[in-house]
């Protein structure tokens, strides 16, 4: 039952926040923080049983939903889901708190959408009925779309529609793949079910498995995002309000990684193994390409967005390396990226609110004026670049260590790619006086990142 409460509290909290919106802007904020705090405590209470480690599954819930089609309301929680849910709720609280000054318009509806996004994401992390998973997968898009479209920056309509079409279109491919899998299982066992555990180990020909796996893979690859499917991300991240960017980068991208870990590899182990070289190649291209584009940006938010593509490339690399080291690294990387990128988006948002621009060429000499903010920016920027002693380093290091066992070539390219980008960065930066000054202030996270990440 506790899993249902995890979902219900932010869901109902969202409706409540909307309802009290008429009483003044403080009320929705209080309701939102309150609901999320209770939810966080509830999730934290599950850490104990998780640490006891009796079985992989800490809590489960199975209610009949659409019995005629073999669909049930099945929620299961294991360590991976728990960690990601904790991250989701924590970033949810952060998003509410930092929106105090930025969101002054339709406050109630804004917080409703934030909480519903959190609800959808928690649902994605919990659902182990494939239809329920798809339900939440689509459901989380709608409130996020509203957050971008209603409270975003100048180009928000374009960005929000692009975000929606990319993710929903790929989601439909996943639906077809889910149904393909379900029907194959149906023909074999005579039982129509969307239950994850029943579908594990369904036997099928190699070609079928590869096609179905691709359906899942593309949906998750768009979300993650993986190289050719990434184009929605810079727009959506840039145009979203700060809270939206934090949730997008911190949480929504993780649903893609979670899907790869939970569904793609376990459901289609053979096909995933066959596909691994391609996926790892895409990962390496993403790492390189994201980093290259990141340092070509003047818009600070776009820069952080592109650096996310690069970081998520490591996640993809780790997933398809598929050994304990790499997978530990993937989870670590997801958490660390959630925190550090979330923080960077908050800092950019705070800067934009104060100086009304995100253009870094206009930001020279900020350290003197804003020493503390710049200090924080530097800490999170070096965290993001993977300085030893900070979380991201552990994640990336473990991933590289693990993927070395799977493929030396891709690991070397991934490792070296950072050197390449940093050299390119070093070539560009000094040509522009202001940019150089800025990178010296530490306010140019990615610029600093690549220089220092050279192995």
């Amino acid at each position: 039952m506790i899993l249902l409460w995890l979902l219900l509290i932010p869901g109902v909290g969202g409706a409540l926040a909307w309802a009290v919106g008429g009483r003044g802007p403080e009320w929705p904020r209080r309701v939102a923080v309150g609901a999320l705090a209770i939810d966080l405590l509830l999730a934290a209470a599950l850490i104990g049983p998780a640490a006891a480690g009796r079985s992989q599954w800490i809590a489960r819930l199975d209610l009949p939903w659409i019995p005629q089609l073999g669909i049930s309301f099945e929620l299961d929680l294991d360590g991976l889901s728990l960690v990601l849910i904790l991250l989701t709720i924590a970033l949810g609280i952060v998003s509410v708190v930092i929106s105090r000054t930025e969101i002054t318009d339709r406050v109630g509806f804004f917080h409703a959408n934030l909480l519903w996004t959190v609800t959808g994401v928690i649902g994605v992390f919990l659902a182990l009925d494939l239809f329920l998973f798809f339900f939440f997968w689509e459901l989380m898009l709608v409130p996020m779309y509203f957050v971008i479209a209603l409270w975003g920056h100048e180009n928000r309509f374009y960005a929000s529609i692009k975000f929606f079409i990319f993710t929903q279109g790929s989601g439909l491919l996943m639906l077809v793949a889910i149904l393909g899998l379900v029907f194959i299982h149906w023909h074999q066992s005579g039982q129509l079910t969307f239950d994850y555990f029943a579908l594990l180990g369904t036997k099928m020909s190699q070609t079928t498995a590869l096609l179905l796996m691709l359906g899942f893979f593309i949906a998750f690859a768009v979300k993650l995002p993986v190289f050719p499917f990434h184009t929605w991300l810079p727009d959506a991240h840039t145009e979203a309000p700060t809270a939206g960017s934090v949730l997008l980068a911190g949480v929504l991208l993780k649903t893609g990684a979670y899907g790869l870990l939970r569904f793609v590899v376990p459901l289609f182990p053979g096909a995933a193994h066959m596909f691994a070289p391609v996926a790892m190649a895409l990962a390496v291209v993403g790492i390189l390409y994201g980093a290259l584009l990141a340092f070509a940006q003047n818009d600070m938010k776009r820069l952080v967005a592109y650096s996310s593509i690069s970081h998520m490339g490591f996640v993809l690399l780790g997933v398809f390396a598929w050994n304990t080291l790499a997978l530990d690294g993937v989870v670590m990387q997801m958490l660390a990226h959630g925190v550090s990128t979330g923080a960077l988006f908050i800092l950019v948002g705070a800067l934009q609110e104060r100086i009304h621009t995100r253009n870094m060429r206009l930001m020279g000499g900020l350290w003197g004026v804003l020493p503390r903010l710049s200090g924080f920016a530097m800490i999170f920027a070096i965290a993001s670049l993977g300085l030893p002693g900070l979380g991201n380093f552990i994640g990336e290091f473990l991933i590289l260590l693990g993927s070395y066992q799977a493929s030396v070539v891709f690991t070397v390219i991934a490792g070296r790619s950072r050197g390449v980008t940093s050299r390119g960065d070093g070539g560009v930066a000094p040509r522009d006086h202001r940019a150089r000054r800025l990178s010296a202030t530490g306010l140019r996270p990615s610029g600093a990142k690549h220089r220092m990440a050279t192995p």
Partner: protein, 481 residues
């Protein structure tokens, strides 16, 4: 017609009696409110009587009709939709000022009678009579009671094109009769199975029927009339055309093609696949280009009927159930969408609120209607938590289960294209209010209209989150026994 058949047929008899009663009422006393009340009350009574009078087993009523699960399910859907249209029409006509309005309800009832009988038809004669009763009164509804020139134009268009389509229908039926010597659906199926050689008469006949049905369901390439009629007709009539007539015709087509399966030697299957793919892609692409919400919804309905053909093609595996659920979802959603368009319109001014600019800032000026319309659009786009999501899921289940590669691919592609224009409406509603309307606050919206929208919204979300009861009902009535 024995006693059992008479009882089973009670809701249809009641509907006929109601039509006559309303006609007499108008002759005695012209009063808009009274006529509307009689119509609404009578339709509500029919909706209640139908499940009560429902026979336990399928009951043939003369060779023309059969009252069975599917007939009852779709007839109830038709009656409920007509009830909603009647309530919405009252608000709309009331805002139009003086002039004769009472005959509108008479036409509405006759059209509903034709539509309600279609799902029960098992014979070419009743098939044709039902469609004609429906279309001819629709013609009046489209052009009647509106001072707008477009309405008259739309009515004339419907008259000419609809007449041509009916001619095709009759000719097609005649050709099949010439070949097989029977007009009963069941007999056609039986005889066609025996006569194995492909036959030119039968093929031509089926092709003509398909063309006529394609016109009535506005499928590509027989869709040309749709946007003009949808735009020209008053919003509640558009809702009627989009929902009631589509449900009725689709129900009879479903019965015909399932009962008299394969009488066209496979050519029908290929033709339907082609039409389905064209409708899904074409409808969605054309909808992209529209700035007029009614025209956009017209093209989108073309696409939705294309989606429904996937269910028809998958009739052997879950397709029948999927079609029933999708039609119900489509009915709720379209009634809601056109209902809101109607509520926002000021019919007295001779223009419906159909331009996309009319929706600017709606989230601010009318939050409830805007949120409702937003959910309707999401349902049309197939997003959770709405019925449209479950419906589309059901269709894809049926399509994948039957291995319909191309139609399913077109469905996915069409849905992605469709997102763009549905979201456009949402974006428009989210935009800042244009200055002009800030000066004068929006006119109040009628309470009955708002209540109808609220009920539709409740259905849309409840059955979108917990569809099991609806699916159970469909299994019970429509499901193949």
């Amino acid at each position: 017609m024995n006693g059992a058949a008479f009882t089973a047929f009670a809701p249809f008899e009641l509907l006929g009696a109601l039509t006559i009663a309303v006609m007499l009422l108008i002759a005695i006393r012209r009063d808009h409110r009274l006529t509307a009340l009689a119509t609404i009350g009578g339709l509500a009574l029919c909706c209640v009587v139908l499940p009560i009078a429902a026979p336990t087993a399928s009951t043939p009523v003369t060779p023309l009709f059969v009252v069975d699960g599917p007939a009852l399910f779709y007839a109830e859907l038709v009656l409920l939709a007509a009830l909603v249209v009647a309530i919405l029409s009252y608000t709309y006509l009331d805002g139009m000022g003086d002039g004769p309005r009472e005959e509108y309800y008479l036409l509405l009832l006759i059209a509903t009678l034709g539509a309600a009988l279609l799902p029960a038809s098992v014979h070419f004669a009743s098939f044709f009579l039902g469609i004609e009763t429906l279309s001819i009164s629709l013609l009046g509804l489209i052009g009647y009671a509106s001072p707008r020139r477009e309405a008259v134009e739309a009515g004339t268009k419907y008259l000419i094109l609809g007449g041509a389509a009916s001619a095709f229908l009759v000719f097609g039926m005649a050709l099949i009769y010439a070949d097989l010597g029977t007009m009963s659906f069941v007999q056609i199926g039986v005889l066609a199975r025996v006569a194995n050689a492909p036959d030119l008469f039968r093929l031509a006949g089926v092709a003509m029927i398909l063309a006529a049905v394609g016109f009535k369901l506005s499928l590509v390439p027989f869709h040309m009339w749709t946007p003009d009629i949808y735009e020209g007709a008053p919003a509640p009539v558009t809702a009627f055309v989009a929902v009631v007539s589509k449900i009725a015709v689709f129900a009879v087509v479903l019965r015909y093609f399932v009962l008299a399966e394969n009488h066209a030697d496979g050519a029908l299957h290929t033709g339907l696949i082609l039409i389905a793919v064209l409708s899904m892609i074409g409808g969605n692409l054309l909808a992209l280009l529209q700035d007029n919400v009614k025209r956009m919804l017209a093209y989108s309905s073309i696409a939705h009927l294309g989606y429904l053909l996937v269910a028809l093609l998958a009739a052997r595996s879950l397709g029948i159930d999927a079609a029933a659920f999708y039609l119900a979802a489509y009915a709720v959603t379209s009634l809601g969408a056109f209902g809101i368009v109607g509520l926002l319109s000021a019919p007295g001014t001779g223009r419906d609120a159909d331009r996309i600019e009319d929706y600017r800032g709606l989230f601010r000026t009318r939050p409830f209607l805007a949120a409702s319309l937003a959910l309707m659009m999401l349902s049309l786009a197939g997003m959770p938590p709405t019925m449209g999501f479950i419906g589309k899921f059901y269709l894809v289940v049926a399509g994948v289960g039957t291995g319909l590669v191309w139609p399913v691919a077109a469905l996915v592609l069409g849905s992605v294209i469709g997102l763009y224009y549905y979201l456009r409406v949402l974006v428009a509603m989210a935009m800042p209010v244009p200055d002009a309307s800030e000066a004068n606050p929006p006119a109040p919206v009628s309470r009955s209209g708002t209540a109808v929208i609220a009920v539709l919204l409740l259905l849309l979300v409840t059955l979108g989150v917990y569809p099991a009861p609806m699916i159970a009902l469909i299994h019970m009535t429509v499901g193949q026994g």
